[in-house]
Point group: D2
């Protein structure tokens, strides 16, 4: 059994981790950290957890190294900025750590500091960190000490684009991504924007051209394309709880057909359990991946405009956060990659 601690266990990502780990045959959650809910039973905060995880939350003090003693793996589900010390501490203690924040995702600290407006105080660990998009960096992940678990939007976008980028089929300066996210993506910190009356029966764009996931996405797209890539990215909030749908547009410089694309995707992803390639003519929808680690991908070559449109769907809290983290854990601990993650989505 892998002994696990979760820092920040009462945010939605921490909770989703707890849910997934509760069904993982090799995982044992040793502590659930929460400053706000210290000593409160986990199931009294989240009624779904009744009889499943009833232990009380603890408040971990990172200044006392013994507080992390006895665990094999630390999941860090703290807000960005706060993760740095936690990751440093774990690393120093030889504890593997999967960080869910943005703190270790962006290799260039200056870029991180510019977009997140926070000083990076853990540069050695940043250099050690592996970007945990399993399908792209599997071998590096297996050997890593620190995993920077990808963001939700980045996961949905990078997975869809990767094969075509590798094939140099994307006209990079035409790349536009329009993403739609459920409200859980905004977390559970109280603010006017996430109350029911504001979100229900409404859709809006936000952070046009300035969303913090932009540099993370650009880093990985550039890597795959072997060329500097700049992204036009617009996230939207839509009235549902979970799910991200990303619609991706670019000029079809190689005049690929749908059939060509089907072959390329097949070549890259045919052995990837969590990537489901839809057939030509089918398009993804978020309900089809609800609560699971799948990323569904569809595509369409528009002959009239000579553009390609890609569409990908994930559950923002699973493949976009906690599910991918568990997938990373499985890789780190040499388990079958699908362990604890073979979930069938509910429908309807």
């Amino acid at each position: 059994m892998i002994k696990i601690g979760i820092l920040g266990s009462t945010g939605y990502v921490g909770l989703e981790l707890a849910r997934l780990l509760s069904n993982h045959p090799e995982a044992e959650v040793v502590f659930l950290d929460s400053r706000s809910y210290e000593n409160k039973a986990y199931s009294s905060i989240f009624p779904n957890m009744k009889n499943i995880i009833d232990i009380p939350c603890v408040s971990i003090n990172l200044d006392h190294e013994e507080s992390l003693k006895g665990i094999d793996l630390l999941f860090c589900a703290l807000p960005h900025g706060l993760s740095q010390k936690a990751v440093q501490t774990a690393y120093r203690l030889g504890i593997k750590v999967i960080d869910m924040s943005a703190d270790f995702r962006i290799k260039n600290a200056a870029v991180y500091e510019e977009w997140y407006n926070v000083k990076h105080e853990a540069l050695p660990e940043l250099n050690k960190a592996v970007y945990g998009l399993c399908e792209l960096h599997r071998e590096d992940i297996k050997k890593a000490e620190i995993i920077a678990n990808p963001g939700c939007y980045p996961t949905s976008i990078i997975l869809a684009l990767y094969p075509l980028l590798k094939e140099k089929a994307v006209t990079l300066d035409s790349l536009i991504v329009d993403s739609k996210s459920g409200v859980s993506g905004a977390g559970r910190n109280l603010n006017d924007a996430i109350i029911y009356g504001q979100c229900n029966e409404s859709v809006k764009a936000y952070s046009i051209g300035s969303h913090r996931h932009t540099p993370e996405i650009e880093q990985e797209l550039s890597l795959a394309a072997e060329e500097e890539t700049m992204l036009q990215f617009t996230p939207h909030l839509i009235p549902m709880t979970r799910g991200i749908l990303s619609t991706i547009y670019f000029n079809n410089k190689k005049s690929l057909t749908d059939k060509d694309m089907a072959e390329i995707y097949e070549q890259y992803y045919k052995d990837e359990f969590f990537i489901r390639l839809l057939q030509i003519g089918e398009l993804p929808q978020t309900k089809a991946v609800y609560g699971t680690n799948y990323c569904d991908i569809g595509f369409k070559a528009d002959k009239r405009t000579n553009r390609i449109v890609l569409v990908s769907a994930i559950d923002n809290l699973v493949k976009g956060a906690a599910g991918q983290a568990v997938q990373n854990m499985n890789l780190l601990f040499d388990l079958k990659e699908t362990t604890g993650l073979k979930l069938t989505p509910v429908w309807p």
Copy 2:
């Protein structure tokens, strides 16, 4: 491995069975019957099933007995009336059958015929059938050949009332049940009442005093109370996909306190994995059981009025249908009752 056939696999109950069985370690689905979708790949109808169940649907002809050959268990998810022949055929062939319709739930055929306006043509099998509410009839279920899987509303109501009925704590002639169901309870047959524009942002009552689950509920309440019971039952449709919340009212003839009730429920249900007893002061909500086989129960003795109010929450498609059916299957085949059903509800 239990070899399984599902009749009516493309309704929501059939689909939920397929979902649950896809994660059941001892189940192998041999055929998925559907008249409307014959030869269509299951995952082309239900995109959640992509890469999970891709086999095509078949249309089973019950006149050819060989069509059921080779299976150990038949799940019958056909509309009421149509189940009778299927159950008869399976029974004759020595195949265990779990029927999801109302056809074998009501012991008194005359009552069935009055409420369902259909002649009952399978009386010998009706006599053989066991009402598959696992927590109440476990021992009979283990030995059954035919299981009548309970309705969704009845499950939510009977489980909540059972301990207090056994304790003669319910003033039967004061019993009122007000239930709220998600729209999936109305199935997926096209009709104006279930289109998005009609249901979203609206709540309504329907079938006041005349819902067909009434005699089924009354039968089981009467059994538990050892006294003829007549129910005031009002179902409501509310704008969500899954879930039933039942609010139950009756006069507190024994002047029980909340603490008394906590003890009674504990006594009856402490070993029931799928029943979660909330603490005094807590009340159930459907989200907490979403997608799972749990039934959450809360209660409140109102001292001012000397009434008791019970509240129960289930997922109508799981504990209210397919999940309970799998629980019945586990009992029938001598498996651990929770096999394939240890699901943690998503939140949010």
Copy 3:
């Protein structure tokens, strides 16, 4: 033109008042009070108001009487407790006031203090206040100085029961009310219970036997019945923004038929513009009254159980709050009662 001030204009009730008054031909809003949003343009808080009400909020200091000078009518949409001083001040200045809080609804100050846990400091004004349920107290309202605008649940319940209470057709000690409310009923003050992720796809009961609207309802039911009435009342939160559906149960002591009830309702309400009596066999739904001041009422005599079930539907923010307040204003100022309120509900 009636010159109007609104205290607490940035809660949902205050906002709904502003919306309705923006279409009222005889109303001129002179100030929109808000402590939290002082000096912020109203339309910057509520984007629906863009180009409609762009004036900034002001923070009214009741200690300076001149702050209310120049208005003919004060709407007080403050939380309970805070209204008392505002109503006193307006009354002393000879300004008519419609109070949306509970502070002046309950005639018996001791009952108010017990349920609201607040001392009542404005007893003379409490004695002057008229309970503003227009259909019941129209003549008193016309002559009033202070109107206590009814609560949302009470409006939906009292209007449905009133004719049958007057006809002594309700077995009072059997009376049970099960209400379902949209989330806007919980206001817009930030708390975990109203964030999207908690409410969406879930239903729950709350405040069983202890909701603060109980004594208000009991007061008015007792008045109509000419007999002390005690209510079993359970409110529920359901995943929609607006609307209350109340389902009301009681023993049918006079063995009324549906036709009898149709006649009684017709007799009491045939001239009431805002009450729509559904035909026998029809049942209300909240969508049909969305955004409007209607109260739809349906009923069913269940012969089998000899009980009556009533169902009423209102928009909690309109007939349940701001719409009724405007109706009261129209009565107070001798306008046609429907002025500014002839709205057709949207569908779908």
Copy 4:
């Protein structure tokens, strides 16, 4: 009073017309045509209409010209293809007609026939028809006999782009539009795609590169740009009832700043009642226009990418259909353009 007939009154567009006209001081609806609901009271189909429009539907036979006698204006809310005969008949009888279908929107009949796969049989009337986007073609509309009322997506897109097209500020070959629509946009004809269980908690793209509104949008964009324009257009279905949000991307060839754009929009739209220009930094949301004829427009110049992103929000059934039709009616009959349309959106 303008005497009005509505063909196809029981679709969502016909219903929305009926709603808006019920509050229009100069409109009198003479008949509500429906083949499916002949002789059924309108309010028995749409319960919101109770006591507002109770008259029965009639089935108009266009072969009998007298069936249209006595009306001044015909609204035609039939599916495309079926409108042609109706418009011809009305035109021959000298009755003004506002057609809500696509039949008279596309000037080039060959293009119409290619995208709609229907032969155009009313070419003379097509030549007479004026495209009824009021803000662009106001003077032509006033003199028209036949109005082709714009589609919902086109309205949201053309209004947002028009000023920048006129200013030659749009790099046409980079134009990409990503639209999100509520489910009511799919109408109320029964089909699996619009049932609650399919739509709720899901988002999907559809008709990528092939949606039938494409040529209509391209026609009007080309007109404004004075240059042939080809559009990349992707509509999405999101889980809400009403509203369209369009997100529009193109290269900023003139390197406009937000301030430049604010000035351009102000110049074109400052006198347009129904267009609300958001301030720099604000972005539209569909809830803010719910149930009303407003089109809210926001914009963002992304300096980093040198692209412009526009966002517009309308209610698909109002400014995207019936509201714009009433606006057209007001122009046709020389009424104040806002008559019957000064509605304040509900919030929340």
